[in-house]
């Protein structure tokens, strides 16, 4: 088999530059969006609006950080939306029962981490495809939450520290944004600088090679599932705090937004390739579009339509750019 060696410079490498060229396309799209929206509606750049956008990004970014790791290992978790709603209800119920924020948070982390663990075991032990396995989990959680509670679990204690999780500020910056930033940085450092991060890429790139190298590829995948679950736990508590209740109907379609952001950011569903920085840009693009549609006063149903178009367009641009590199 003879093939031509294209002497292309190093690019699109895992843990390569801060801004790989696939993120460049996205950065340009983001900039274009910001400029276009602010021309049509100058209030786009008001401090209040910028902070609103960041706050909306926070929940998605928290879960997308875990999801990026998971998709890099070539697996995916579709149950995060359903889990998000359930977690809020559980956390709220435990908080009500114990009057302890710590216990409430621990309960929601344990629940969401447990969901991730089960997802991971189903995929790595039972060898069920993660797409199917986590759809199953999604259905179980969507139904299960109604077995748990028919209606929203109200906050009985009005703990100010609990309300602070979602609605509080540090200076001008909302608490959820601080949580998101912290999780993003931890995930970024892990993927970029640690052996664990490198192994996650390796498992996605070639699981068999990783196993032959004496590494436990299944443990790595399992870990990525659990981490994704824990991120859902944190996001779920913040959401419950924002709504001051555990809402069984919350989180519908949340998994799609998260996965869309990760894919938009250039992470390959085939595994082995992707970056958290791209995910950040992906989240920003989606939320800026959301925000733009609202402040321009467009029909809100476009909030689903436009991102759909953007995802297809961005993927296509990525292909075009790749081809241009090779030719």
């Amino acid at each position: 088999m003879s093939e031509i060696v294209h002497p292309s410079p190093a690019r699109r490498l895992a843990g390569g530059r801060l801004l790989g060229s696939s993120q460049l396309v996205l950065a340009v799209i983001l900039a274009a969006l910001c400029i276009a929206i602010s021309l049509a509606a100058p209030q786009f750049y008001s401090e209040a609006n910028v902070i609103a956008i960041l706050r909306q990004c926070a929940l998605v970014l928290i879960v997308a950080s875990g999801m990026t790791m998971l998709i890099i290992t070539a697996e995916v978790d579709l149950s995060v939306g359903a889990s998000l709603a359930f977690v809020g209800c559980i956390g709220m119920a435990v908080l009500n029962a114990t009057h302890s924020l710590t216990l409430g948070i621990l309960a929601s982390l344990a629940f969401a981490g447990g969901v991730g663990l089960v997802n991971g075991l189903v995929v790595t032990r039972l060898k069920v495809n993660s797409l199917i396995g986590t759809i199953g989990m999604m259905m179980m959680l969507q139904g299960g939450v109604y077995l748990f509670t028919r209606e929203a679990v109200q906050n009985h204690h009005q703990l100010s520290s609990f309300t602070g999780l979602g609605a509080g500020y540090v200076g001008p910056i909302p608490m959820p944004v601080i949580f998101a930033a912290a999780i993003f940085i931890i995930a970024y450092v892990t993927l970029r600088f640690t052996t664990l991060g490198r192994y996650l890429y390796a498992v996605g790139a070639n699981e068999k090679a990783v196993r032959l190298s004496g590494l436990r590829s299944e443990r790595l995948k399992l870990l990525a599932f659990v981490v994704t679950g824990l991120c859902v736990g944190i996001a779920g508590m913040i959401l419950a705090s924002l709504m001051n209740a555990g809402q069984p109907t919350a989180g519908r379609g949340f998994e799609l937004t998260v996965i869309a952001a990760v894919i938009l950011g250039g992470t390959s569903l085939l595994g082995g390739r992707g970056s958290l920085f791209g995910t950040l840009l992906g989240v920003l693009v989606l939320k800026v579009i959301d925000n733009g549609i609202i402040i321009l006063g467009w029909n809100q149903d476009l909030q689903m339509v436009v991102p759909g178009v953007v995802i297809i367009l961005a993927s296509y641009l990525d292909i075009v750019r790749n081809k241009a590199n090779v030719r």
Binding site: M1, S2, E3, I4, V5, H6, P7, S8, P9, A10, R12, L13, A14, G16, F193, T194, T195, L196, R198, Y199, Y201, A202, A205, N206, K208, A209, V210, R211, L212, S213, G214, L215, R216, S268, G272, R273, V326, R327
Partner: protein, 506 residues
Amino acid sequence: MSADLLHAATDMATPTLEMRGIDKRFPGVIALENVDLVLQPGKVHALMGENGAGKSTLIKIMAGVYEKDAGAIRIQGREADIKSPRDSLRQGIKVVFQEIALISEFTVAENIFLEGYPTGRGGGIDWKKIRADSAALFKRIGFDVDPSARTGSLPVSQQQMVEIARALAHEAKVVVMDEPTSSLTPNEVALLFTVIRRLTTLGIAVVYVSHKLDEVFEIADTVTVLRDGRHISTRPIGEHTNETLIQDMIGRRIDNLFPRQRTAAGTKVALSVQGLSTAKKIRDVSFEARAGEVLGFFGLMGAGRTELAKAIVGYDPITAGTIAIDGSVLAPHDTRTGVRLGIGLLTEDRKTEGLMAELPVYQNTSLASLGTFARMGFIDTARERKAVQEYVDRFRIKTPGLFQQIKNLSGGNQQKVLISRWLMRGLKVIVVDEPTRGIDVGAKSEIFALIDRLAGEGLAVVMMTSEMPELLGLADRVAVMCEGRLTAIMSREDATQEKILNAAIG
């Protein structure tokens, strides 16, 4: 010499296909420069060259996958314009690629008539006719394949026959076979050759792309050698010897394909396998491998070499027996323990089990030893890259840089990276499975030298191979397998081709 022959050839008959002065450029690479290829009806024309010589590019131009940048193509004397695979097929050129392009869920007959199903009354597809026509085509090539079998269920050898039948269905004048024997058993190769000869009696010009010398000597009438995108020679096969062909292909002489540098092997047992069985294949296999020796395992297709290799490194589960590395039993039976005790596998299937194709060279090299470059889980990348660079220099791995994606390297260089992966980790026993599969002649001798050096440095090397010269050239002792059992172990001195084959047949 070659020019004379071309003149002689044009006098003989109108060539079926004539490619003149073909140029093809990719950014930064000249893939083909002024290449000629002239095919005569009813002849087998071998196209040879190392990886990157331009063979693939040339046949892809024939197949309409690439468009040529310059040059002319004439089919039976008439100027032809090939712009797409469809054009190519319409003009009577059928390329059977190494990775066969059939729809595996369709039946054989459906695949053969893929481009245009004959229709019966009312415009429905005439299934009866399709099946009958398919059977007739197979009869013409003298090979029987069930037209209603699901294509994906057939072995590669039969899928090739389906492709050839497709060629006949399109009344192809040129059939190109791209490395057709890379996954065939010796029997299947013999059958393929019979079919190829049948094609030539039908007046079809066959292009045979390969780098297996013995096959080319057996089947080809004429050989064209390409090197670095240039035409080197076109000669009748009778004018070639092994040496002249290799010399044309690599542009230099290889004096000794197996440069053995080692002295006698030690006596310390590094690997001891007792009564090993697996669920699938291996039955009660026992042997020992000593530090500093190459223990060669030979066997025909399906003898269980790969299965044995995967079992002894802890990758595939075992049902009975023990494996001990330097006296320590491999338990629990997994690769993690295996690597910790010092045994590793250089896999036969680089693409699916070895390479992380999208990742850079340095990450591929350090995979098994990443822990040694880390403090508290953080990788010291400077130290890591420096260590990798040493291996790149030491083994002369040709890569534009450590950040190059490994998929862009040649097979030989990829193999060197994978060997480096293990050397960096530090092993006592290395199991190498078909170490030169898909690697061209020049790089082969480098891989042999590397294996020789590994043993010289005190590793026990267990080498699985189906290539007799490789076995006899490298191994200190020869073990022979047949249907999952070990049928003979002999020393290098006792091993003859005949004895080995006898044991391999069982």
